[in-house]
């Protein structure tokens, strides 16, 4: 059975939920059975153009292997659950411990990088004179 598969290139980080594809194209593929939908292998009927992800039946896959045998191209993918179920993920309400937006800057967080303390030294106040330069102040009590 042939499937229309969308191939494309994504430069997003692997842990990005809502990925985007560029340089997309569609191609007709057949599934090599037995097929694990989380790790499918496609047989591409035409020529393979550079891509690192494909979309099959709404699921997003990272291309992990491309094999050419007897003039056919076999493409193996691993499921990208984040991209595949981005809508579900965005719609959930979660307890967020760290965030890059709207964060509270005064909540201490663990910092893995080394913190080397430095000491700033500031002098202030100039009321007192130099007591050793002859400008001493004597107090004398008399009756």
């Amino acid at each position: 059975m042939a499937y229309d598969v969308i191939f494309g290139t994504s430069s997003d980080a692997k842990n990005k939920v809502n990925k985007s594809l560029s340089t997309t194209y569609s191609a007709s593929c057949t599934l090599i059975e037995p097929c694990d939908i989380l790790h499918p292998t496609l047989k591409l009927q035409g020529a393979f153009t550079n891509a690192n992800m494909f979309i099959l039946n709404g699921r997003w896959y990272h291309i992990v292997g491309v094999t050419i045998n007897n003039g056919s191209t076999y493409i193996t993918g691993n499921i990208d659950a984040l991209a595949s179920w981005a809508g579900n993920i965005y719609g959930t309400s979660q307890f967020v411990t760290r965030a890059a937006s709207d964060y509270d800057k005064y909540i201490p967080i663990s910092i893995d990088t080394e913190i080397k303390p430095i000491c700033e030294i500031h002098s202030f106040g100039s009321t007192f004179g130099n007591s050793l330069d002859g400008s001493d102040c004597y107090m004398i009590g008399v009756i």
Partner: protein, 742 residues
Amino acid sequence: MANEIINAYTGEIITPPDNPTPTPPTERRDETTYTITNNTARYGEIRYETDALTTADYAHMYENGYVTAKNPMVNNFIPNAEIAFDDILGGALDNPVNMVSNYPTQTGNLKKYIKMSASSTAPTNPDGAEGRIVWLWCDSGVPNFINDTSIGNFHLVTHMEMKHVLQNNSNITQSYADVNYSTSWQAGFDGGHSKNNYSERPNMLNAVDFIYYAKDEIPEIEDITTYTDIVPLLSVRPYIMYPTDGGYIIANLDICSAFTHDVVNISKKDTTSFNSIPVAGANVTYSIGIPVTNVPTLLNGLSATQNVFDSTSTNACTYFYAGTFAGVIRNDYNKIFMSYAPSDLATFLKVHQCSGAFLLADKVYKPIINGGFVSDVSDDLNAASDIDNYDGSLVHHGGGGGGGGDDDDDDGDDLDDIGLTLNANGNSFISWYAVNRTQMEGIISWLNGHENYVATDEQDPIPAGFNAMTHIVGVMQAPVSISSISATTSAEIKIGGHSTGITGGLLTNQGSSSVIDVGSYQIPKKYDNFLDYEPYTKITVYIPYCGTVDLPPSIFVGHTVRVQLIYDIFSGECIGVVYCDNTFYTSLGGNFMTMHAISAENVGAIKQAVVNGCMSVIGSGAVAIGGIATGNIPVAVGGIGAMLGGTAKNLMEINGIAPTMRGNSGGRCNFYKPNNCIIYITRPQNAITDGFINTQGMGYNKTRTLSSGQGYTVVSNPVISGSMTDTEKQEIINALRTGVIL
């Protein structure tokens, strides 16, 4: 015919009429202004005031030539007038916060103001009583004006003239412009209210008006030569504010229990919130005043009016003082209240705290002169210019006041006859002088010339047998410049009542002279996040002569650490007081001065003993040498010990002469310590770089829908649902735990 009187401000020579019956002023400034039109219920505030001075008082003063400058308050006085008070704010006054309004939204310092009471009813004013408005305003956003955080920005001006406020709404802006024109942030009053000033500032009718008294009419102060023409006396308008069910009553001083002679400390509040209106009788301190840090600036701008403000901070409380000068422009404002010195002759405001209210005492105060110093004030204009004894009698120049009074002869039976006076310190017969090294050398030289001295100076005969050293009670050395000792007045040093010809700085007031503002330092935020606080940031401040103290970053970061040094002139002890902004934080003790031993008695014998002692040491050394030679080691050790001791005291003991030693010798270690404050701020280096937040995130710790966030996000215990496989769910959960990018 009354005497001619010179107005200190204008120089105008005024001849009071022969029959100076007080009449309403011809220059009515407010007669058409008592209608509040288009009032928004935010501005109207009318009250009547009564005046503590009666018309008879005023007539008496005028008749006697005391009053030379127009005092409209007195002129317009209605004795025993009822207070008209009508709150039109519909209960808004129940909550003072509601009285804070943003009108007008002008630039400049005046941004908000608060009215304390209001009325829509034009007062019946047949006799010229003036409406008054009490304004409280602040120069920055102050949500509630009586609390610790806002007090520093809080100012009070009372008694604005009604007509400039209540004409209509549009005039509010004008009124503000007028106030702004005065350029004066004035704590409750505007000094220098002379006729000229009045015309120059037509929109300010001030809480403080002056009544000028001719010098000739106050003979007790004739010795004061610094001010040759006029002695200004102060008349403070009375008012008292205390909460009622309907707002605030501004009443006459006489209504509540007030105490005369209570110097007004316009002080910082206590912990009671003004928002919760205290019940009558509650002990609440309200506050008015000017932040100490603003005082110099204020004074610079107020030279024409010659207001005087000062503050001192003791016992974790900042006091603000206010006073007025007249006659000259004063630059040494900081001496008022710090020293009762003749050069600082001035009047000053008295504030009194009473139950559930504060008040400004309404008195005309007269300086009490004692020995050339203003030692007290009195509301009795006929009071003798002397300090009162504890029993009410006069100690000095009292003319038979009894109880230790002077009998006005020179028979040697009282203090005057032997040259002793109760000095300004008021604590003993001892006068303390601050002198520099040259002056000290002069004193030593004088002493050397006057021990057991028989003088021939007819102007200042020193009796035979006079031992000048017996009159020296202590010598200390402070590791500061003499310029740091501000609360002094120049005076000739007299020892035993005899002139030395050496001028020193007579300490005039122990309480205030012992405070030195060391300095302040603002501790900025560096990262503006948690790294600015503990445990990442630590702050330590070194206070000269006291030591170091840790400052919690949670309190001090973003604020100013201010250090004062308070020292005791008698013990040399000191405490360093640390403030966060103007709020007391902590203090720590130290030692400020170095004592010097004084062998004040038997000086001649001591000198002789020194000689004998030296001879004894030499002899002991000889014995020691001999002892060593003969094996008598203890004798040798004793001799060397005495020699190493080397002090006169040891020598005296050796020779069996024991002079009376006074004072203690202290080390001069303090002289080598840093004499300014040092602050140490230990901070982490910036580990949170620009990319850190994008890849690591910052603390959030709240629940939210993930679609509302952006960027790196870490979820605790994520929950995911949907038609995905279990493997996919687990993969999503793992990703959310470790962090995803939304």
